[in-house]
Amino acid sequence: MTGDYKFNTLSLHAGFTPDERHGSAAVPIHQTTSYVFKDTEHAAALYNLEVGGHLYSRISNPTVAVLEQRVAALDCGIGAVATSSGMAALFVTVLALCSAGDHIVSSSQMYGANINLFQHTLSRYGIETTFVAPNDPNAFAAAIQPNTKMVFGEVIGNPGLDIMDITVIGKIANDAGVPLVIDATFNTPYLLKPIQNGANIVIHSLTKWMGGHGIALGGIVVDGGNFDWGQNNRFPTLTESHFGFQGVNLYEEFGPAAFITRVRTEGMYNVGPCLSPTNAFHLIQGIETLGLRMERHMSNTKKMLDFLLHHEGISWVKHPTLPDHPDYEVAKRLMPKGAGSVIACGVKGGREAGQAFIENVKVASHLANVGDAKTLVIHPGSTTQSHLSPAAMKSAGLTDDMLRISVGLEDFEDLQADFEQALRSAAKI
């Protein structure tokens, strides 16, 4: 980051200049599919990427661009492309880097849809993935092959809360000539800016903490611009003739922006998982208070941990800020302000007790999301992972008594009272 505005100022202002004609203080919602060209030369110039502007909202949109520029500023990126969801952001990233016959090294402990994309979808198109433990840097090093195009993982694994040492693994990846792509959904740039700590590309599900309100889906890819795509012959999608723009070489023509240009000109242009302008507007409103909310998420998480650790109805508690967490030291180094607001814990009484707890909470919401301003709880054993055998649960780092709590912003006394009564109900099972 340069001598730039600080986090909360950027959260409120970055990427937006009020227009001269109307002076709207809030970011306007440009709910339009297309844009009137000034003349044929202007239209051609937009298609040739020789002037800035918008030509069709699948590719870019003024409201979405404010969101992209704001997140790029917060994450110290050279540019960003917003997408319809976090999964779409991951997909367009893979699309920009990988082709049939290529290979990915990925953390094995992460969001199920990420695993499914790599294991079951990409493999059908000839892209193979080797999964390794997120906290075993040597395993990442050993898994990189000559055809590996990216190393991938989540800083804070979902739902197991393993911590990936992105500084160490980023160096391993970069030394091998491969970029580190990080899903930073659980940490947000408030807790950790991955690009300043070893990553080259960052992906967020904006649906979670960044938006914070649970009213709009969205994702984003942020390009650090800090990876030299021309250092080897590994990235022909960026260093050889591109099918668009008169066969231009993106690396030569756009330099550090080669990757993000490919994401927009291929991922958005040819596939089209674009973010709606209205959702972009909602997400911008959330980001305006990201710093304040994350402070509160962290303080409530600390109180919740203290409560759970001392409650007789809880058999175990897992969070990266607890000294018995295997990645405690890494979490402390990477995220001194806190390691996220998701807690895993076990309810005494196993699967049935967990189910009873979930069915009795009143303030907390029982649903399949995280990062909302409201506290969310789920019992994977009886819901999202109910189809798994005990062995499969164990391999995914899950147990049948496990609760996943996404700590929200409520007055903690109300949360404590709610959890107390739900745990009393669970104890009767």
């Binding site: 001598g3 020789e50 002037v51 800035g52 979405v64 790029a72 030299d228 030569e252 023509e253 927009r264």
Partner: protein, 265 residues
Amino acid sequence: MKINLNGEIVFASTGGRNFELKGEPIWFIHGSGQSHLSFMLQGRFFANRGWSVIAADMPSHGLSSGVPLDTIEAMSDWHIALMDSLGVEKVQIVGHSQGGLIGLDLAHRYTDRVSRLSLVATALSIPVNDNLIDMAKNKEPAAIKAMIDWGHGSEGHSHDHTMPGQNHLNYGVQMMAANKSGALHADLKACVNYDNGQSAAAMITCPTQLIIGQQDKMTPLKFGLKAAEALKTVNVTIVENAGHMLPSEHPEEVNRALRPFFTKS
């Protein structure tokens, strides 16, 4: 395109179009610690409108190999050698910042090789703070950050960009960081040591123009206007809300000013 010049690789952007020598090419010369990428939107704009365009990375910059040159005169001679290797007899120059000093020197010493000279965010001399030169030598990343910070005006610092989703400051840092270590220090020393701008300007006979950023902290407006006076040019464009990194920060205004200035075969 890549050119072999005296055993070193020179990368020259041709604006995304194959280079075909037509008339007098527009010859972009980048500033200190910059590369062809600082003219990305000018190069594409003119190449797509039928001009021959060259934006070369000087040695140790961007995608070019070699040892950085340490005087403005040596940089001018290098550009002449590159023109010779491409069979280019005469060019229309756009020089940004230090590239403007090189343009002044070229138009003065090689009058038959320069038909038009456009100076963007430059002056007759570019004094550089000793601390910055020291930082460029010993703490290059800090020097790059400082230059990118000072080099952008209010629009760059607002993180608003004409190209959707892009970020001026962080792109600028990564673009400069991609040069070989030592290139920035050599450039800044070359700027400091060049003191021939005033007399060169008095001798230049080709048509000239100046494009100046209203908020430029590195080559402030008053120094740009002094250069205009010395060159006796009335072709001056002042771009509001713009800092030193004019070509990337305000590409449309720069292109609008440049376009009528150049001739096309």
